[in-house]
Symmetry: D2
Subunit: 344 residues, 4 copies
């Protein structure tokens, strides 16, 4: 398949390139970057030296790129992908957007949280979280790849919601991410000495991943769910740990919780059930497409606590996009993304 | 005042020594260490080179040390301080224990969570969290210095509990600490390459600081509180951020929350109210005795989220111990501990 | 090929396992660990969960393991590999030792620097630095895989020595390594809070990699070279940067230096000549088998400064071992180890 | 004394403020910042919350500030301080410049390395490295505070040069710094994910601290010295370790080296001679004004290797500036800067 990466010089775009270059069924046709158009990707990212020296193109060529590609992977700031999607609607090229433009069933939710008018409201798009929306992904023209925090959080809570084990009004998600999740733009808050040996929360009560988690869990539940989501910044490069809390419904037991995770995920290649009382760590999944899950029951408080670890740039972005691509192409779902985590 | 540090080679003990050596009303008489008895403190900790070269003594001399000191600061593993407290009961020396032995009103709670029989059940001890127990600390013979996670968490929630603004059954505390909180013993989980670029939870549903937080908040509330507490390890040296969640009671408002924090803390030197919608960061308090507080109201979920940042070795251990010492001596409470945070 | 890893639970052994499990011509037959015999590798290293759950065997079975393997990769402390090599001398199994036992032409040098009597002095072994000893490696029975600091340093200086451009008496190598190079044993100096936000030198004038670098450069030069080597510990997990200094001989020029690097390495897949005035960084090679080289000429001092970056666990250990294995098997040299560096 | 900080929002300026606010003989009169004029310092640096809320002024007021101050500490980019120095020449105010404008005896050297025409060539300025230029500092009108790398490197080599023990042509200084040394401007190379878990060199053969080190060592030697200096960036916040190499002259011995360090520094409060074969670490001096020195003799190569550790923002900038200020005021040299290092 001929694929192109639109926005190849963000961290997610560069990770996509790294993985796609080793995918056995892929040829990377075009890579673009507005800020670095004309330069070689290996000039922008010297780790590609001698591996990929192709020049970066500009979005000006988007139509020609669309015609010359079977798939476009888009890694651009909110608002750009929907314009591209609209412009290329008539072409056969399929789109996997790593941003948020195509993630929401209801574009009004997008408009409310992103403060951008949606330009492509009638797009035929599906939500790209493979474990939950696999069938819809198969034939999708446009896939709105799930976000990083959302992937970790939705996968952690989905079994509990699906089997009706928790009081959904009590859900609190306390998530922590490495700094690559904040992108590659140099800004004071992400300047090295500011973050090193430091820890902080941000986006309390207003982070944009909140409605995305709510949408997926509401889909599963069948009724609207409102929940608490708080992100934090960890002084490390990669990785997300999501600590998810919920009250168990009366009469629910640890065994029923165990059963829900098994029933939902036992055949999922990329979800590793580390089991009850286990402690996933972000380093155990670094560089891989795995999501590791452990869960705990607190009998004193009657809460279940689920711990979920992913690599934000792989299962939370580039790896998941390729997983969706594999499904959309009818390939083995793990083709090119069954990397073993890199430790230590 | 002549003071001695029993257990001076743990991180908290060494930090105590650092601060006490610059305290204008203190002379450090004795320092002890079982593992390093006979060695100079500057051999064990070269940052003390030329500043403090005094040899470390053994606990074998505890009675003589007790007789030669006005105050003992104890930084030993659980179970040791109570033996010393009992042994020196008849001496005039006063004790500030940085461990847990003297933190609980009810020694049965201690015995349940620490799995150690309490040897000094009838001790006259007070809980050493200055902002909440100041009066009792003044004349205390034995002070059970508050723990690190507990200090950050109690100070965050106390105003909300005191003024009855929250549903106490809904409290979730998600806390994150630098690795110095785990002590100086070299163990595989804290080996550098295992933790670096890594993040994890531990002690879910069973961490020993849980009953300590519950005790203080129950004291304020007047009725027993059970809550959720989860600690995490951040790949950094120092600092704790505690993210505290609770449902607001019906009819409570952001202004009432603001008012509770102001009413309770506006005259507290070591509590810096950063205000509503503020984001305390651990680096803003590093090396200081401050506790920075910021809070947020989520109108969608009707929750209040309080963020609390301290330096675990200062306000969470050594600084707090000296604050208690100052109160117990009738000194200005901030004497010797008004360090400005070290940034970056 | 059936391969076994003797000492699979050190960092180098675990990295070997990670790479060998994805090598298309390899089946991992046995893995051993004295400290964890009987346990599953995924219990010791949870990043292998669901990927490799094979139990670890003990060295007690070494003869049976040797009979059941085409190749043994050995990752044990100094002194163990030579006993195994001796014991299995009659078997057809070939050995790649990641330790130092088989690295020296003259076992007296080994005995002097390692303070261990050599048990296998007449072994037919070759030095396993592929770019320099490729022909000898092809048919070797025993390969003494080059060390981490040594690989980075030798590759940096070899062209200058080979073409006689520098005064070899003036060589100073100032090298810096991530902490994984110090192994997985938990010891106080490598305890997280001791190293974090810290930097130090160690092994000045006596590090064991010194004679290894001298041996290889002397081989190239044809006459004995004595040089200065100083290692440092960087608060990071992986990566080595070696900064190498030497005085240019009178009349030598920048162009002659450029030419030497080109002549020696232009066809080497794993050596990326970043060029004159370039700055290799350890992150540009992380997780890959590349060695990146940049060089600078200081006209004021008439020195050449070469910067050399590798991943200490890949090109400095496991990746290099597989490169040697590929050569010894007649496979394409980059089979299974052409990973793209993981950034950021 | 009334002092003002010109350029208070760089890292060195903020550290100066932190230290000056606790100096018993100082009142901070004015603080300036061009980028943040009108804002409170605690808005720009929340660690000053409730400690210092004074608004930042603009340089437009420099004359009034100069009139209202006994001392100005200047922390501005190269080229600004000399304009201020010239403008305020007639006022009694004395100046301590943390930048490079007043560091060079010969402004031609400055112009060559900084590519800026010097505006104040006839200034009566002295080089502000207290241990070496103490007498001149006492009455200086303008003090050019020594740089960070230079302080660590000059103090390491001065005794060897003074007592003629080394071949000065063989000097190689390989220095490593935490990232705060690069300032607070957010730029891609210092963006957190780019530097974290990464190590690199920069400024090879052309770093501006080179001529400054050469000037000081030439002053001591009495004849011009040209040397090699290479800086590196360590993924940490604070600290410099300088590894300095030189060939011993024939006949020189370890004892003579020991003697040189003792003779030169035994009465220096801020220089801690850790001794022969010692390993200073940056964390042992963090937050303090100490310079720790250890040295090693390599009998195989006949080189002496000196290791020198400082906190780049204290002894390498703000602490040294106050040390100079104390000397210039006739105060005890350690007044307000005898902080004990903060560990871990």
């Amino acid at each position: 398949m001929k694929v192109s990466i639109i926005g190849a010089t963000g961290y997610a775009g560069a990770e996509l390139l790294r993985l796609l270059l080793r995918h056995p069924e892929v040829r990377v046709a075009h890579i673009t970057s507005e800020s670095h158009a004309g330069q070689s990707i290996s000039y922008v990212y010297p780790h590609f030296e001698r591996i990929m020296n192709q020049p970066l193109e500009s979005l000006d060529n988007i139509e020609a790129i669309g015609e010359d590609s079977d798939f476009l992977f888009i890694g651009l700031p909110a608002g750009y992908a929907m314009t591209i999607g609209l412009e290329l609607e008539k072409l056969p090229v399929r789109i996997i957007d790593l941003g948020a433009d195509y993630r929401f069933h209801d574009t009004a939710v997008y408009e409310k949280w992103y403060k951008i008018e949606h330009a492509h409201k009638d797009a035929k798009c599906v939500y790209g979280l493979a474990e939950l929306y696999r069938d819809a992904i198969k034939d999708a023209k446009i896939i709105g790849n799930a976000g990083c925090y959302t992937t970790a959080s939705i996968l952690a809570l989905a079994p509990l919601v699906k089997y009706g084990l928790i009081d959904t009004d009590s859900i609190v998600i306390d998530a922590k991410s490495g700094v690559s999740g904040a992108g590659r733009s140099a800004k004071l808050p992400n300047h090295f000495p500011e973050l090193y040996d430091n820890f902080k929360a941000y986006g309390v009560a207003n982070h944009r991943h909140t409605p995305e988690i709510e949408q997926a869990l509401s889909d599963i539940s069948g009724k609207p769910i409102t929940l608490q989501f708080t992100p934090h910044l960890v002084p490390m490069s990669r990785g997300i740990l999501s600590t998810c809390y919920a009250k168990l419904k009366d009469g629910e037991t640890a065994e029923r919780v165990d059963g829900a995770f098994q029933a939902m995920y036992k055949d999922e290649f990329f979800i590793r059930l580390r089991g009850r009382n286990a402690y996933p760590e972000t380093k155990y999944v670094r560089g891989s497409n795995y999501c590791d899950l452990g869960w705990h029951i607190d009998e004193r408080t009657n809460r279940v606590i689920v711990l979920s670890a992913i690599d934000n740039l792989v299962k939370g972005a580039a790896g998941q996009a390729i997983q969706n691509f594999n499904i959309a192409c009818g390939f083995d779902e793990k083709l090119g993304i069954d990397m073993i985590p890199m430790y230590p």
